[in-house]
């Protein structure tokens, strides 16, 4: 009796997973993120207090709060399905944040709820990682060179600013998302959300300085819909 119930439950779960997970050959949402106006001038970072990092750069690197490409392309924008797609179990391979040359690579790291997160220190100095989480549990750890990677995961969706307490200029973003349908706009501002089953979706674009924009899109089959975002840039 009981076993039968368990079996049915199992089937139900399997079915649910089958319907929600990405179907190959589904529809695709693609597009471009751009800005209008003059974005803030990115300032060179003075790393003289950390010679082991400073010596890695011929010319000092600049801040990355607003990274732009040719013809008003806006980089580092997280584009994801905020509604319409069901939550998905996390993938097993971990998202990796690397600290190299006293910067976060990548500057914006997107991964799924409960997906393993791995943080590496490839510098000769010890770093401190302090994700300023508000919804998730906040923590603050240092990572001296030669220590094992810090492994962690987040169990709620949130955009988390990440900072290094030792090197004030080191800032990045964790995008903790509910499903696998996300992309980060490239140098040309382009992004692509493939393998979406038919349905009505809300597409959201998040930028660390300019905030969020959302658009609705409906997919019927395996067609490709284009969605573009335009952010307003401020000089200061």
């Amino acid at each position: 009796m009981r076993t039968k119930h368990l079996f049915l439950a199992g089937v139900a779960i399997l079915a649910a997973v089958a319907t929600t997970s990405a179907v190959p050959g589904g529809g695709t949402v693609t597009g471009k993120v751009t800005y209008e106006g003059t974005p803030a001038k990115q300032k060179p970072i003075d790393m003289s207090k950390e010679p082991s990092c400073a010596k890695l750069y011929a010319t000092p690197p600049t801040t990355e709060t607003v990274v732009t490409g040719p013809n008003n392309a806006l980089e580092n924008v997280v584009v994801y399905i905020s509604a319409g797609a069901a939550d998905e179990p996390p993938p097993s391979q971990s998202a990796v944040l690397t600290q190299k040359g006293c910067r976060y690579l990548p500057h914006v790291l997107a991964f799924q709820v409960n997906q393993p997160l791995e943080i590496l220190n490839e510098d000769q100095t010890s770093h401190n990682i302090h994700p300023l989480a508000k919804i998730n549990r906040e923590w603050n750890k240092s990572q001296p060179p030669g220590t094992p990677p810090i492994v962690d995961k987040y169990d709620k969706m949130e955009f988390i600013p990440v900072k290094c307490n030792v090197h004030p200029w080191m800032h990045g973003t964790f995008a903790v998302l509910k499903n696998s349908h996300y992309a980060i706009s490239a140098e040309d501002g382009g992004f692509k959300l493939p393998n979406l089953p038919a349905g009505k979706y809300t597409v959201t674009a998040y930028h660390e300085s300019y905030g969020e924009q959302t658009q609705e899109v409906t997919l019927t089959g395996s067609e490709t819909k284009s969605v573009n975002f335009v952010f307003k840039a401020r000089p200061y």
Binding site: T125, S126, N128, H130, L132, E138, N140, K141, S142, Q143, P144, P145, G146, T147, P148, I150, P161, K163, N165, V166
Partner: protein, 589 residues
């Protein structure tokens, strides 16, 4: 009948049962031993912490196997993180200053010998006495609880400067519950110490035996008495300071936190507080605390020196008056810790002068000790060696005070290893030497068995040479401007200093290992030591007039009558070259 009622009126009945005898004992002797044990535990922990710090400083990338078991976040893969280094530093300082330097020479020996030396059957308030120990123990447990909570111990140093210590977890790892535990622990410790000090004072004032005038009290009794007066004021100030700190942390008040602080990218919700207020309150306690640590050892050492020299000091009174004036001056000098803190530069001058003035009584005491050695016949044994070592250490640590007492020189030496060397020598090592001397001198009385001399002297030589090897170089580092409280030396100029740092670390590990001899000696002698006679050192004071160990009521229900000043040595009496305080025979004059 009358008598028994009198007994009940003041003296507790003989203890019954294990708990009353050894755990919740009202007997000042047991409580003294309990304090000693607590101090011993704390000093071992503090020493291990200092080993870890020294090791990390010179071999920063070498794994310390097993350390990640102590703290996974603090030492990932056995490599100490910067914040964990600061945690170790904070706990080392707090354990050593509060639970070792305040407990061992003052609370431990004071509890055991002050009542005996004045001919009392116990402290004035035996229940308070027991409470003060157990409160202190609770404070200790609360403090080390910080090691096991996920947050880890606080990282703001034993001085816990606000606002770093006051703003909460945004200030960094360990500044959440770790810091709360620290503040609560110290507040509890204050209560315990206040009870203890109150007890010491009342006992000294009211329970002296017939004929035991104040000036007939042994020098160490005087030292404990003066110390308890200082402690009474000092901890009475630290307690409210801790309460205000706790409120700033947990209730959102702004006593020490000014407005507009941005910490970890967050604007702190406080306004108008004054960080300097904490510094003033803390150092108003903090500087007298230094004398709470050193005065008892001065007393113990004088007591032992006189006995080993077999003749009185040039003047015991001068020593007592010097200790009084040091205790008095210690209330006017706290500002010399704050010369570069942004305090009004004129008040720096005001603070500098009394600070320098303290060198006068200190020098007088040193010269009295030295001068008294002249023409003596010094017995050399572990106790007297450590007493002589104390004088040497006290001088070495004292002279560096000349520098730090001057604001202008403090500009370059403040917060360097010079300061670390200074206070470790004068307040740390010197007063610990006093404790060692006291232990070798009184162990027989306390346990009924003598400590092993051979091991004792071996322990002395290794410790004496070792501590100089550790703490003298600290001064050199400071003179170059090497900053203290750094978990790694990343400055360009510190490279050439690393050999010296390595030397210090090796010396520290070695000297630390030498302390195992002492601990072994304690345990070995406790069970296998030669039985202790009633008066092994042919001493004159009352503790030598009763069996070793003394009965529960010290004088077996009798009340000694005191006929002499404490140190009747070098007189041709019937029993040899000394007359005991309670023996009716006439003194030499």
């Amino acid at each position: 009948m009358e008598e028994t009622s009198a007994q009940q009126a003041h003296v507790h009945a003989p203890p019954e049962g294990f708990l009353r005898k050894y755990v919740f004992s009202l007997d000042h002797k047991v409580i003294g031993k309990q304090y000693y044990a607590l101090g011993l535990l704390a000093v071992c922990m503090g020493m291990v912490l200092s080993w870890l710090m020294r090791f990390h400083l010179v071999w920063p990338t070498t794994r310390i196997p097993g350390l990640e078991l102590l703290s996974k976040a603090g030492a990932p893969g056995g490599i100490i993180t910067p914040e964990y280094y600061l945690s170790l530093l904070t706990m080392h300082g707090t354990l050593m200053v509060f639970f070792v330097l305040t407990n061992a020479p003052f609370a431990a020996f004071g509890n055991y010998f002050l009542p005996i030396q004045i001919g009392a059957e116990d402290m004035a308030f035996p229940r308070f006495n027991m409470m003060s120990f157990w409160t202190t123990l609770v404070a200790f447990l609360v403090l080390i609880l910080a090691f096991v909570i996920p947050d880890g111990p606080p990282i703001s140093g034993w001085t816990s400067y606000a606002p770093l210590s006051a703003v909460g977890k945004d200030a960094g790892p360990g500044m959440g519950w770790g810091m709360n535990l620290w503040a609560i622990s110290i507040a509890i410790f204050c209560i315990g110490s206040l009870l203890g000090a109150l007890n010491f004072i009342a006992t000294t004032l009211d329970l002296r035996a017939k004929g035991m005038t104040l000036m007939r009290m042994p020098i160490c009794t005087w030292a404990w008495f003066i110390t308890s007066c200082i402690a009474l004021l000092a901890f009475a100030v630290l307690l409210p300071a801790c309460i205000l700190l706790i409120l700033d942390r947990m209730a959102g008040t702004s006593f020490f936190i000014p407005s507009g602080l941005v910490i970890s990218d967050r604007l702190q919700p406080h306004s108008g507080g004054s960080p300097l207020l904490w510094q003033h309150l803390f150092w108003f306690f903090g500087h007298p605390e230094v004398y709470i640590a050193i005065l008892p050892s001065m007393g113990i050492v004088s007591h032992i020196l006189i006995n080993s020299m077999r003749k009185p000091l040039l003047s015991a009174r001068v020593i007592i008056y010097s200790m009084m004036s040091i205790g008095f001056l210690s209330w006017m000098v706290w500002g010399h810790h704050m010369f570069v803190s942004g305090m009004n530069p004129f008040s720096s001058l005001l603070f500098s002068f009394p600070t320098l003035t303290i060198t006068i009584p200190a020098t007088i005491m040193t010269l009295i000790w030295l001068g008294s050695l002249y023409g003596a016949n010094i017995r050399i044994n572990s106790a007297s060696l450590f007493a002589l070592g104390f004088i040497s250490m006290f001088v070495s640590g004292g002279v560096s005070g000349f520098f730090l007492a001057q604001p202008s020189i403090d500009i370059v030496l403040h917060a360097t290893y010079f300061v670390v060397g200074h206070f470790h020598m004068v307040m740390g090592v010197a007063s610990i030497f006093g404790v060692f001397a006291g232990t070798y001198f009184w162990f027989g009385k306390m346990t009924g068995r003598m400590m092993n001399e051979t091991l004792g002297q071996l322990h002395f030589w290794l410790t004496f040479i070792g501590t100089y090897c550790i703490f003298m170089p600290f001064h050199y580092l400071g003179l170059v401007g090497n900053i203290r409280r750094y978990s790694a030396f990343v400055n360009d100029f510190t490279g050439p200093l690393m050999p010296l740092h390595k030397f210090i670390t090796i010396a520290a590990l070695g000297t630390g290992a030498a302390q195992l001899i002492f601990i072994f000696n304690l345990i070995y002698s406790r069970y296998k030591g030669a039985p202790a006679p009633e008066n092994p050192w042919s001493g004159t004071t009352l503790e030598w007039s009763i069996p070793s160990p003394p009965p529960w009521n010290n004088f077996g229900g009798k009340h000694p009558i005191v006929y002499h000043d404490p140190y009747q040595y070098d007189v041709k009496g019937s029993k040899g070259d000394y007359i005991m305080q309670d023996s009716p025979e006439p003194s030499a004059g």
